[in-house]
């Protein structure tokens, strides 16, 4: 939308600004062209009105041409000269029309004398409006950019907060603290150990959350710390098996991609089984550039459904989408009393370099 046409008040102000221009034109017509003041007014007002709208068109060429282009000024100058010429032509046409009325004898001659002046003034005015529109455009761009920055900051903060919440499940933390509270009386050494393990887990989770990509090795380390805490809570109820290939350990992944899957497996699996349950993690190279990850756990199909089912998985899916787009796979299925999450990610050298 043209900024001047955007509202009626602006258009009115713009046309008022042409008042002084027409006054100058009338003065020049009288003093240089030797016209009567009546003729000067009759000529100048329609001419200014016409040219006011011609100058508005400069907006479109400003928007289409970046000032950084070396040819931009030349282009604008040629357009301005053309616009000035059109002004001259309109003036001469007006003169022809006026001369036919016999009220203004010699008007054609008088206007002819004004031609160089009109052309120069027309070119100058057009260039002036071009400059004004460029200023307007850049201030608009600055405003947009500022808005964009603020929005981006808000978004980043929000996602940071979400990530933080996703990393540390409050149920887990409070239950751990309760276990520690219980252990202080019966087994102080174990209580201390659990305190330290919990602190270690929290420190690692918060630290890793800030990074873009981490080696699989670090994620596994986080998982092991997490499991050693859960092992104290669940005791023999929790059985964990792991099968990973050592040459996958350098593989770069978004942080906290797998730990939530293990936590889910415990929350919705082991925790629902009175006799305890198992969680199994398998990681292997599917091919030279694809990594396959499987998390399996058994669960009680009759257990009451817990709140938050699916939130962890949704987060994982979101992380995969933002990191890999369509190139990662996430498949979730239930096979009898076994829950199976399988994940496939491409090796992403570009992403790996960015984080390095």
């Amino acid at each position: 939308m043209h900024p001047i046409f955007a509202n009626f008040r602006r258009l009115l102000l713009y046309l008022l600004a042409w008042g002084p221009v027409s006054a100058v034109l009338i003065y020049l017509f009288v003093s240089i062209g030797g016209m009567t003041s009546g003729l000067a007014v009759a000529l100048a007002i329609p001419l200014c009105l016409y040219y006011a709208f011609v100058c508005l068109s400069a907006w479109y060429s400003c928007r289409g041409t970046r000032l950084q282009n070396s040819s931009a000024w030349l282009k604008h100058f040629i357009t301005a000269a053309g616009a000035g010429l059109s002004w001259v032509i309109v003036a001469r046409l007006l003169a022809i029309a006026f001369s036919s009325t016999h009220y203004f004898p010699g008007v054609q001659e008088q206007v002819k004398r004004e031609v160089p002046l009109l052309w120069a003034a027309g070119t100058f005015l057009y260039l002036l409006s071009t400059a004004v529109f460029y200023i307007l455009l850049s201030s608009q761009a600055a405003h947009e950019a500022e808005k964009g920055v603020v929005e981006a900051q808000a978004l980043a903060r929000e996602s940071e907060l979400k990530a933080l919440k996703a990393q540390v499940n409050p149920h887990f933390v409070f239950n751990c603290l309760n276990s520690i509270s219980a252990l202080t009386a019966t087994d102080p050494a174990k209580a201390r150990e659990m305190c330290i393990l919990l602190a270690e887990f929290l420190r690692k989770a918060l630290g890793l959350g800030e990074k873009q990509l981490i080696p699989l090795e670090q994620e596994l380390d986080l998982i092991h710390t997490y499991l050693s805490v859960e092992q104290i809570r669940f005791g023999t109820r929790l059985k964990f098996e792991e099968e990973t290939n050592a040459d996958t350990h350098a593989w770069m992944l978004p942080p906290l991609l797998l730990q939530p899957l293990i936590e889910n497996a415990i929350r919705h699996g082991v925790a629902t089984l009175t006799e305890g349950g198992w969680v199994r993690l398998e990681i292997s190279n599917k091919s030279a550039d694809r990594l396959a990850i499987q998390v399996r756990n058994n669960f009680d199909a009759d257990a009451p459904r817990k709140r938050g089912t699916g939130i962890g998985l949704k987060n994982v899916r979101g992380r995969l989408d933002t990191t890999y787009g369509q190139r990662a796979l996430l498949d979730v299925r239930t096979e009898g009393e076994c829950f199976h999450v399988s994940l496939e990610v491409p090796s992403d050298m570009k992403a790996a370099r960015q984080s390095a």
Binding site: H171, F174, N175, L177, N178, S181, A185, T274, P304
Partner: protein, 252 residues
């Protein structure tokens, strides 16, 4: 509570350490006797039926049955203190008139405060109806996914999709599920509000039917109709009930 007798307590929590801390804090109170410990909802229902304790310490997230389901099945003449790690259930606990709601981990003085409240409550009938109890089993704004029924000391879980129909019988409802019937102390209206109205239709004052089981409808007498289910069961339908049923069947 009878005089000079110990207050009998059952502790229900799936984590050993969580039961241990409650037991430890109860040691300071010689008038309390721990008569049972359960690590899941099934055992809790069974133990309460057999031992009839005065007070229950109840975790909410547990295997088999959650704390609210346990409470629905054991009824309202036991004082209950919920002990849980997170406060998202506090409002529901208040609705079932729990004595108190302890957030883990808790301090000894906070624990003693809850216990003092429980002692006042024990022996008094708690003004909470079975309807209120069953209403709080669900998360607010959600329909039930399963129905829990006590069958003697055993607990039966009926997934809503397996419920064929429900009939009112005096103070109970009979839940028909794959040829078997289970009795539950609940009104048919409260069951109706718990179920998704897109799946279950009230075809009669005393009958609620699973839409997927409806086979055909036949006229019966002058004013009434009979709904015949896929398994051959015949259920009477009132005129208003028939209209509701036809609205659903016509729409599909």
């Amino acid at each position: 509570m009878k005089q000079h007798e110990a207050i009998r307590v059952i502790i229900v929590d799936d984590e050993d350490l969580a039961r241990q801390i409650i037991r430890e804090m109860l040691q300071a109170h010689p008038e309390i006797e721990v008569v049972g410990e359960c690590s899941n909802g099934f055992d809790a229902v069974k133990a309460v039926a057999e031992i009839k304790p005065d007070l229950l310490f109840l975790d909410i997230q547990m295997p088999k049955l959650d704390g609210f389901e346990v409470l629905e099945l054991v009824g309202n003449d036991i004082a209950v203190i919920f002990a849980t790690a997170y406060d998202e259930h506090a409002l529901r606990a208040f609705e079932v008139h729990a004595v108190d709601y302890l957030l883990k981990p808790f301090r000894a003085d906070r624990f003693n405060e809850a216990l003092a409240r429980a002692k006042e409550r024990i022996g008094k009938k708690i003004p909470v109806s079975p309807e209120q109890l069953s209403a709080t089993v669900r998360d607010p704004g959600q329909y039930a996914e399963r129905i829990v029924v006590k069958d003697g000391t055993r607990v039966q879980i009926i997934p809503v999709s397996k419920l064929d129909f429900a009939e009112a019988q005096d103070d109970y409802i009979a839940l028909a599920c794959q040829g078997k019937k289970y009795l539950k102390q609940q009104t048919i209206s409260s069951l109706e509000t718990a179920l998704d109205p897109k799946s279950f239709v009230r075809i009669h004052r005393s009958c609620l039917v699973n839409l997927e089981r409806v086979g055909r409808i036949e006229p019966y007498g002058k004013d009434s109709h009979i709904v015949i289910l896929n398994d051959g069961t015949r259920l009477p339908a009132s005129r208003a009930g028939l209209k509701r049923l036809q609205e659903f069947l016509g729409g599909s």
